[in-house]
């Protein structure tokens, strides 16, 4: 997954989101070692300080763990990851549903649309 | 650091001088085979001799030009960004260029002398030559006595001080010219002429005195040679040199303004 950073939002919040995505999608599996801050910063073409800040926040949230001697890893707490993943999903869905409502769609219409598109996606 | 600056200064300038010296010696050797007879110059002899003189003069002109160009280009044009960000005091820049300039001038004189000897060697017997040198020495010794050595030392020191003073005069003129935004070269030339004239006036006042009875009069009472007078002159020249150095250093330290 390439890093996609937009210019009008703080970089560190975008970094947090994109690292979360990688965790949820399994690109960074539970317990996996993360590259060094500097390597990650280089990969994303951002300032190491900013990357550090993003990782610190993720640590606060429990998704990332720092080991004194062996650097950073993704948490092994699969439960927590699943919860966070679901929470993000719910956020996205509620935003989406709100928008559909604003456009004037009824709940049933929304569901039909979603089901149809999911079918097409599988193909 | 001064040693390192010297190393690079010599490297940068030897690219000009070493080839010149080589060419001069080659032409001297060529000329030495020409068997000159002053009453009868063939065209080719004339040409080779002229070329040699051309190169000889060119060598000294080059010393002069390189001296100016090194100071101006290396310190006060774009290369100045490289040189003045080095962790080196400004005075070391001045000294390294000064020493290198003196070195090349002295070397040029020696090489010139060597080339003349080479040319002259065709018609002169080496032992006769050294014999006549001895005679000159003996004559001089009989006139000066033991103070001949003093005389020689004075000439050498005087030569070097005059050179150093002259070179520093050039440097301070270039530095003063640098202070102007639009008329650098003009101001440099003006400064050079101005300072030179002021220097001469001060020297005249000191030596001749306002009543004609200055240093010169009082000291020429000495014989066989007014050593003290010459030392005074050398001393004054040295003081000027120091003043030029200090002014140059102040300008480089406090008034540097690279494009």
């Amino acid at each position: 997954m390439p890093w996609d950073l937009k210019a009008d939002r703080p970089i560190y919040t975008q970094l947090i989101e994109q690292i979360e995505l990688r965790i949820f999608s399994g690109e960074y599996p539970p317990g996996a070692r993360l590259p060094s801050v500097r390597d990650m910063a280089q990969e994303a073409s951002v300032n190491p300080n900013t990357m550090q800040r993003a990782l610190a926040k993720l640590e606060e949230d429990g998704l990332v763990v720092t080991h004194r001697t062996s650097g950073r890893t993704i948490t092994e707490d699969v439960e927590m990851i699943r919860n966070a993943k679901n929470k993000l999903a719910e956020q996205q869905i509620s935003e989406f549903l709100e928008k559909m409502q604003l456009m004037g769609f009824e709940k049933r219409e929304t569901l039909t649309l979603i089901t149809k598109m999911l079918e097409e996606m599988k193909k | 650091m001064l040693g390192k600056l010297l190393k690079y200064e010599i490297k940068a300038t030897s690219r000009v001088f070493l080839p010149l010296y080589l060419v001069l010696i080659v032409f001297a050797v060529v000329n030495s085979f020409m068997n000159f007879n002053p009453d009868d110059f063939s065209t080719s002899q004339f040409i080779t001799l002229t070329l040699y003189i051309f190169i000889l003069v060119g060598m000294f002109v080059a010393s002069f030009i390189v001296m100016i160009q090194r100071f101006y280009t290396n310190l006060l044009s774009e290369e100045g960004y490289l040189m003045f960000t080095l962790p080196v005091e400004s005075w070391k820049h001045i000294v390294s260029k000064l020493i290198t300039s003196v070195m090349w001038i002295v070397l040029s004189c020696l090489i010139a002398l060597l080339s003349i000897l080479i040319i002259a060697s065709q018609g002169i017997n080496l032992s006769e030559f050294f014999e006549s040198l001895r005679m000159i020495w003996d004559t001089a010794y009989s006139y000066f006595g033991a103070s001949l050595y003093h005389f020689i030392v004075q000439i050498i020191v005087g030569f070097i001080v005059a050179m150093v003073s002259g070179i520093l005069l050039i440097y301070v003129s270039i530095a003063i010219g640098h202070l102007s935004n639009n008329h650098k070269k003009l101001l440099s030339i003006g400064a050079f002429i101005g300072i030179y004239i002021v220097g001469q006036i001060i020297s005249a006042i000191l030596f001749i005195g306002n009543d004609g009875y200055g240093l010169t009069y009082r000291i020429t009472q000495q014989s066989p040679f007014p050593f003290a007078l010459v030392w005074e002159a050398i001393g004054i020249s040295a003081i000027f040199a120091v003043i030029y150095f200090i002014i140059t250093n102040i300008i480089l330290n406090r008034r540097l303004n690279l494009e």
Binding site: A7, P10, A41, N47, P48 | E79, Y81, L256
Partner: protein, 232 residues
Amino acid sequence: MNAILECNNIKKSFGSKHALTGIDLKVERGRIVGLLGPNGSGKTTLIKLANALLVPTSGEILIDGKKPGVETKKVVSYLPEKTYLNNWMSIQQIIEFFSDFYSDFNSEKAYDMLKRLNLDPKEKLKNLSKGNKEKVQLILVMSREAQLYLLDEPIGGVDPAARDYILETIISNYNENATVIISTHLISDIEKILDDVVFIKDGGIILTSTVDNIRDEKGKSVDALFREVFKC
């Protein structure tokens, strides 16, 4: 540790021209700072003051707590806007030159970068294209393990690929004791690697902030804010 760069009411005039009208600035270590302003705003003057290439008309500038001089030149690595290399040396010779005068110069790094950019160390400086000369200058500057890097318009005349390489080099060189100050008017390219920005206009500072704060509070990129603030 004290701030790596401190300016206390720095003023600099050239005759009747007032290049800096009173700059107060403190830059901490380990930051990548953008000094942003239009041409003629005083960025280059400020950087030259930090390098002891100019002397302030009044006020004080301190590098690592010291006045600019021989000691500070040892820890400051400067990339000027112009090409300043002499023309008789080869790339190898200028590397040796830097190595000779700067004890913090890392020759291995320099040769590594040269190789990556396909530059031949034996090539004479005078035969290099302008773009390559600028790359060599950048390599010389970044191969020093300095405490303060001052880069004046490092991506100015350079093609986009080279720009990316330069930004990459700056990031990979990062260490938490060194500070990089980048002066430029090309902001969108470097915004994402900056920690802090300083907007300078007509010789005075009109804004200092972190990049994230600007994006957070104003909801726009630094580039967009710059265009707003400096609208002609």
